[in-house]
């Protein structure tokens, strides 16, 4: 959504990297240091109009306003959960929408951002997949999900676990990570950001080489045939090859890799799964994060009861695999894991 009175033909500044801003000011004949000044206004201050960039000469602001707009957009709807979670709906152009979940929890607050409108991965258990794929978000639209919510300054962690597959939109995701972590940008620690993938190996490799953010991989079962039924991506990038690729990178320091594991009753919660998971992840410094399944319409799957989730965690822990159970949040507003959708 553009700011009032600014048609969309104007190019958004928000979402540009310092390199892009440097090229822009050069092209406009402005002094080189103006690029850092603009970045400062875009990513560190709470203004919404180019005219408010008061340390830029008036003429420069006027010149920029003729070709560019600030580029942030406010959420069009917010839903509040009884547990404090809030779900924001943002426009993403041409009557398309995305969702973002703000999840406060004691001394931390996590923002779950989307990277695409819809998703083309078609996982059996995911509501986003049911709406198909409508497009990629720009870096600006990704970072905007943080900067345009009232809780912006309370957010301590960001997870790319909303709508879409981040590594299917790698260029814009990497750009957004640069804006979030660069000293000229929002200067967040990459240790506060986790990018989640279902295992697009080439994208994951490039991400691990270019970014220091944490990685999460949707695993859900270690068995090939089972995973193909749940996640079509297994036919192109088998999870064993995903794990093999991860082993080529260093996770012994502060960077973490975790494996997300939704628990399906009678499907992926057996002793054989514990055994195979322990074998697959043996020696890899990582965490397995068990997630309760939140049923979606028409699903043939059911969630594992809590007691068995606990037993599964204990069995994996006994085999030396660090395992946790993720708390379900925002279930009453369809903001919990796997439920984000803007199909309607």
């Amino acid at each position: 959504m553009p700011e009032t009175g600014k048609p969309n033909v104007l190019k958004p500044l928000f979402g540009m990297t310092l390199e892009e801003l440097s090229a822009l000011v050069k092209e406009e004949g402005l002094p080189g240091f103006t690029a850092r000044q603009i970045a400062d206004w875009l990513y560190r201050k709470e203004i919404r109009e180019i005219s408010e960039m008061t340390n830029l000469p008036v003429r420069a602001r006027e010149m920029l306003s003729e070709k560019y707009r600030f580029g942030t957009s406010e959420p069009v709807k917010v839903s509040a959960s009884a547990d404090g979670t809030r779900k924001y709906l943002f426009g993403a152009g041409n009557m398309k929408f995305i969702e973002t979940a703000y999840i406060p929890d004691r001394d931390r607050a996590t923002l779950c951002v989307s990277s695409q409108v819809g998703c083309k991965m078609g996982c059996l258990f995911c509501m986003t997949g049911k709406q198909g794929f409508q497009g990629n978000l720009t870096a600006g639209e990704i970072v905007n999900q943080l900067c345009s919510i009232p809780e912006w300054h309370q957010v301590t962690n960001i997870v790319y676990m909303g709508m879409g597959e981040p590594f299917d939109n790698l260029e814009q995701v990497l750009k957004s990570l640069e804006i979030l972590t660069a000293p000229w940008g929002m200067a967040m620690s990459p240790r506060r950001i986790t990018v989640s993938t279902i295992g697009i190996i080439p994208g994951m490799r490039e991400f691990l080489e270019k970014s220091q953010c944490h990685l999460a991989v949707s695993l859900h079962t270690p068995f090939d045939a089972e995973r193909r039924n749940l996640m079509p991506v297994q036919n192109v990038y088998p999870v064993q090859e995903v794990v093999d690729e991860i082993r080529r990178h260093d996770f012994s320091g502060q960077r973490r890799v975790s494996f997300e594991y939704i628990m399906f009753d009678g499907l992926n919660d057996t002793p054989d799964h514990v055994k195979e998971l322990a074998r697959m992840l043996h020696g890899l410094p990582c965490r397995v994060n068990l997630i309760r399944f939140h049923p979606i319409p028409g699903t043939p799957l059911t969630g594992t009861p809590d007691q068995r989730i606990t037993e599964f965690r204990d069995a994996l822990t006994a085999k030396g695999v660090f395992t946790t159970i993720r708390a379900s949040r925002g279930l009453d507003i369809q903001a919990a894991c796997g439920l984000l959708s803007t199909m309607n």
Partner: protein, 221 residues
């Protein structure tokens, strides 16, 4: 797939590039590698442009590799692929992927160029007793229909969403599945197409009693 830098690839010389329907092409180059029916290769024309994945549409022992693709207006690669002429070169990765375990007697459901991996399976003699359900917007997009009619006879079923009146079902594949009397939940079902097609077809199959364990899919990534 983002870059050619870290994948193994070779250059192939185009043998033929046939326009088989509006915006649809069948690209051929000599087979210099072994592959399994159902696998994909990454293709490109320029090392600076991101490679794209395409299913191989030819048989495992065929002398040429066939790639079925449609030209996307505004696309970064397909307009260049469509302009390739015999003698031109293109970049081809090693074949990979595991959509290769198709069992005899299965139901193969495709939309548009999603037919490609199933053509490879059929031409490799690996899908005896298979039924093919192919969806297209117009009859001209029933690729390889002569081969499929001859090979599969009554087990070749077509769905055309925009044109009624032929010997096909008038409607989308999903609508066909909803009323298909020949549906057998005990058979394996393999789907190939866009995310929307795969998700909606899978939902229809499940609602008609096909266990999800009998459904495998490949999506155009």
């Amino acid at each position: 797939m983002k870059s050619w830098a870290d994948i193994s690839w070779t250059r192939a010389v185009v043998s033929e590039n046939l326009k088989i329907a509006e915006s649809a092409y069948l690209l051929k180059f000599p087979r210099t590698f072994d592959f399994q029916a159902g696998q994909v290769v990454a293709l490109g024309t320029d090392p600076d442009l991101a490679p794209r994945l395409y299913s191989i549409a030819s048989g495992e022992q065929d002398p040429f590799v066939d790639i079925l693709f449609t030209e996307k207006s505004g696309g970064s690669l397909t307009p260049m692929l469509s302009r390739l002429k015999p003698g031109d070169s293109l970049m081809v990765s090693k074949p990979f992927g595991t959509f290769t375990k198709i069992q005899p007697g299965s139901v193969l459901v495709a939309a548009g160029t999603g037919l490609a991996p199933f053509m490879s399976v059929l031409k490799s003699g690996k899908a005896r007793g298979a039924t093919v359900i192919h969806g297209a917007s117009y009859p001209e997009f029933f690729y390889f229909d002569e081969y499929l009619e001859e090979t599969l006879k009554e087990k070749y079923l077509r769905c055309c969403s925009r044109v009624a009146g032929g010997d096909w079902f008038h409607g989308r594949v999903t609508a066909f599945i909803e009323q298909w009397k020949g549906l057998d939940p005990g058979r394996k079902h393999y789907l190939c197409g866009s995310a929307e097609m795969v998700v909606q077809t899978r939902d229809r199959l499940i609602s008609r009693g096909v266990p999800f364990k009998n459904i495998d899919a490949e999506i155009f990534f």
